[in-house]
C-alpha cells in the first residue's frame, strides 16, 4: 500500500488511509496536508471513525488488504522442517513449466485450498470493507514476486543459508494462485479487481528489479505505476 500512498503524496493527491498495522484502535497515526492515516486492523470490527471513512462519500475505496502468506509458502524449503517436504504444483495457466525434481506434487485444487486457508481472515476483511462501501471497492492484488537477486540478501540477513535459493517458479506460481483467489473473491464481493500493471513485470513475470523495495514490496516507482493505473481506470 505504502508505495501508492507515497506516489499519491508526491502527486499531491489527497487521501485518507486505514492501515491494518499499528495498535489498530482507530487512532490517527498521521494527519498532514490532505492526508490522514489511521491504524485500524478491523478485528473484531472497524472503529466508528473508520466505518464513517469507508461509508461516507462517493469516492472509490482502494483496498490493499493482502499479506505475505504466499511468499512464506514459497520460502518453505528454507525452513528446515523435514515433516514438510518441498512441494510443487502444476499451474493450469502455465502447465508446461517444469516441476522441480524431488518435490512432492500437490494437486492444484489442494494448493488453492491451502492459499484460501492462509488468507481466510484477510478475505473476510475484504468482504467486510466491501459491505461498508458497496460498489466503491477497488481491490489490488498482491505485488509480484521479486527476482532471486533480492531474495538472497534477505535470507542471509535471517541467517538462512542461501546456497539453494527457493524455487523461483514456485514463488511465481504461488503469486498467480493468490492473484486469482483475490480476483475471484473481489468479484464475489462486488468489488473491482486491479491486476499488476504489465509494465511492472520483467520478461519472466517477476517484479522489475528497479521497482523493488524489498522482497514483499514495491518502491515508489511501482506506486506511481499503480496510481497511474487507478487514475486511468477512474
Amino acid at each position: 500500500m505504502n508505495c501508492l500512498l507515497e506516489a499519491a503524496i508526491e502527486a499531491r493527491v489527497p487521501f485518507s488511509a486505514i492501515t491494518l498495522k499499528g495498535a489498530g484502535e482507530g487512532a490517527p497515526l498521521w494527519t498532514g496536508e490532505g492526508v490522514s492515516l489511521v491504524s485500524d486492523h478491523g478485528f473484531p470490527d472497524f472503529t466508528d471513525e473508520s466505518k464513517a471513512l469507508l461509508t461516507g462519500g462517493p469516492e472509490p475505496v482502494l483496498s490493499f488488504i493482502g499479506g505475505t502468506k504466499h511468499v512464506q509458502l514459497g520460502l518453505l524449503r528454507q525452513m528446515d522442517d523435514p515433516s514438510e517436504p518441498p512441494f510443487d504444483f502444476v499451474l493450469p495457466e502455465a502447465p508446461r513449466l517444469p516441476l522441480e525434481s524431488g518435490t512432492e506434487v500437490i494437486p492444484f485444487d489442494g494448493v488453492r485450498q491451502l492459499i484460501r486457508r492462509e488468507f481466510k481472515r484477510r478475505l473476510r476483511l475484504i468482504a467486510k470493507v466491501a459491505s461498508l462501501a458497496p460498489g466503491r471497492l477497488i481491490q489490488f492484488g498482491p505485488p509480484p514476486p521479486v527476482s532471486d537477486r533480492w531474495l538472497e540478501p534477505f535470507l542471509l540477513k535471517q541467517n538462512v543459508s542461501a546456497t539453494a535459493l527457493p524455487n523461483r517458479l514456485l514463488r511465481w506460481k504461488l503469486w498467480r494462485v493468490t492473484m486469482a483467489l483475490f480476483q475471484e473473491h473481489a468479484v464475489e464481493c462486488g468489488a473491482r479487481f486491479v491486476d499488476c500493471p504489465p509494465e511492472a513485470l520483467d520478461a519472466d513475470g517477476f517484479m522489475r528489479d528497479d521497482l523493488v523495495r524489498n522482497v514483499t514490496h514495491g518502491n515508489v516507482e511501482f506506486g506511481r505505476l499503480l496510481l497511474a493505473q487507478v487514475q486511468a481506470q477512474s
Partner: protein
Amino acid sequence: MTHPYRHVADYARWDRGVAAVPPEQVDPVAPFPVLLTRQQPVVTAGSCFAQHISRHFKRAGFNFLITEPGHPLLDDGVRATLNYGVFSARFGNIYTSRQLEQLFRRAYGTFDPVDLTWDRQDSRLVDPFRPTIQPGGFHTREELLADRQQHLAAVRRAFEAASVFIFTLGLTECWAARADGAVFPIAPGVAGGTYDPERYAFVNLTADEVVADMTRFIASLRSVNPNVVLILTVSPVPLAATAVDRHVLVSTVYSKAVLRVAAETLASSLPRVHYFPSYEIITAPFSRGQYYSDDLRSVTEAGVQHVMSLFFRHAAGVEAPLAPPPAPAAETPKKSDRLARALEVLCDEELILLADRLPPQTST
C-alpha cells in the same frame, strides 16, 4: 454309532456355531493364524468395503502404512476430500483382481496402457484408472500425469514395505480397453471418458481368471517383497448394477461366489495367503439383514465393527484396539516461524518508511 461329524468343533456345526449364538457373538473366523503385531506395516487395497478396514486400522493403533498421505501443508479436511489416506496409496477403489495385477505392472513400468487420460464434460480430465480420485478432475494433462507418476512411486513403496497386504475382492464385472486389455474401475462414460463399444469391452471374470490374476500379482509382489503375507477378503457390498442382462441380485451372487471360490483356491494353494470371512459375517442369516443399511447395499457401522473386532482378535490377538497415539508435543520454534516473522517485520518496516515520507505531522 459314530460318524465323521460326531466330534467336530462347535463352530463346525450350524446349530452350535450360528443358530445358538447371539448374533453379535457369531465368530466364523476360527481357526486363523495370528499374524499381526502393532509394528508390522499393513497395506490395504480393494473395493469400497476395504475403506472400512483402512479406517479401523488407522484408529486402532496399528502400523497402517500410508505411503501417499498428501502433503502436510494440506489440512486433514482437504486431504480427505482429495482422497489421501483412504488406502495406503491414493489408488481409490480397486475392484477387480485384474485391476490389481495391472496396477503392479503399471507401477513397475511393464504395462503402459493406451488410455492416458479421460475427458470430462467440463473440459477437465480424469485418470482412467482412478476416475474419482480427484474431485472435480485434474485441470491439465500435465497435472494428471505428474500426479500419476508420484502415485505409482507411492504404490511401489507400499508394495515393497508391506508386512501384511490386505486385499478385498469386490467385483468380477469390469470394462477393458480392446486395444491392450487395460481394465478400469468404472465403465467409460460414468465418471469421465466416452463409452465406445468399438474401444471398450465388457468383461466378467471367471473364478479361474481371478485365480490367475491374483497368482500373477502375488508372484510379482513377492518378487519385490518376498516375505509379505496376504489376507484376502470378499466385499459383502452387492453390485450397484450389472451389465449382464439379468437381475442384479443374480449377478451379485454370481460375482461373490466367483470371488469366494477364487479366494479359497488361493488361500489353500499359496503359502502365506489367508482368507478372512468378512463376507460371511455381514451376509449370513444370523444378522437377519441388520448389517445392511436401508439401501440394502451399504454395510452398517455395527456390521463393520463386528468384522473388525473379529479381525483384530484373530489376526492380531487383540480384543480392544488401542486409541490412536497422542499427537506429538509442541516443537521448538522453527526456522519457518523466524522467516514468517521476518516477512511481517518487513511490513512493519514499511510503515516506518512511510512515516518518514509523510508530510510534517500536524497532530497525532
